[in-house]
Subunit: 83 residues, 2 copies
Amino acid sequence: MFKAIIYVTLKEGVLDPQGEAVKKSLHVLNYEGVDEVRIGKFIEVWLKSQDEETARRELEDMSDKLLANPVIEDYRVELMEVV
Amino acid sequence: MFKAIIYVTLKEGVLDPQGEAVKKSLHVLNYEGVDEVRIGKFIEVWLKSQDEETARRELEDMSDKLLANPVIEDYRVELMEVV
């Protein structure tokens, strides 16, 4: 069994309206030191796979097809074997 | 200047309907080895603060008030000094 964490972020240069909204709210709450906010997501996946290489290939495949939008998002796969 | 990453996850035991939906979609795409999916978010914050301790306290404060919902979510703050 493997556990993966896929971190998905907006590509640099892509506007992050949700992050902007959070930044403004933080300023309203008097956290004026806040300079920038960017929001990302991560997906934890537990999966059975014959070996680590296959698992990684499947996860990259899933990310390209479903978990991330390759046009505006980057992703990074962290993979570990679990019992 | 500090950069923080706040990782927000649903508490264990809290249902994750978005993760369930992703798991089902992955099964439809023939990734039958997928056992469980949980979705979290992370918030990158760049902020000015007099020292690391103050920055950490402010970030925990922000998380409790705005970034996470302490009733159903846990969070973890990762903090580093940047130039």
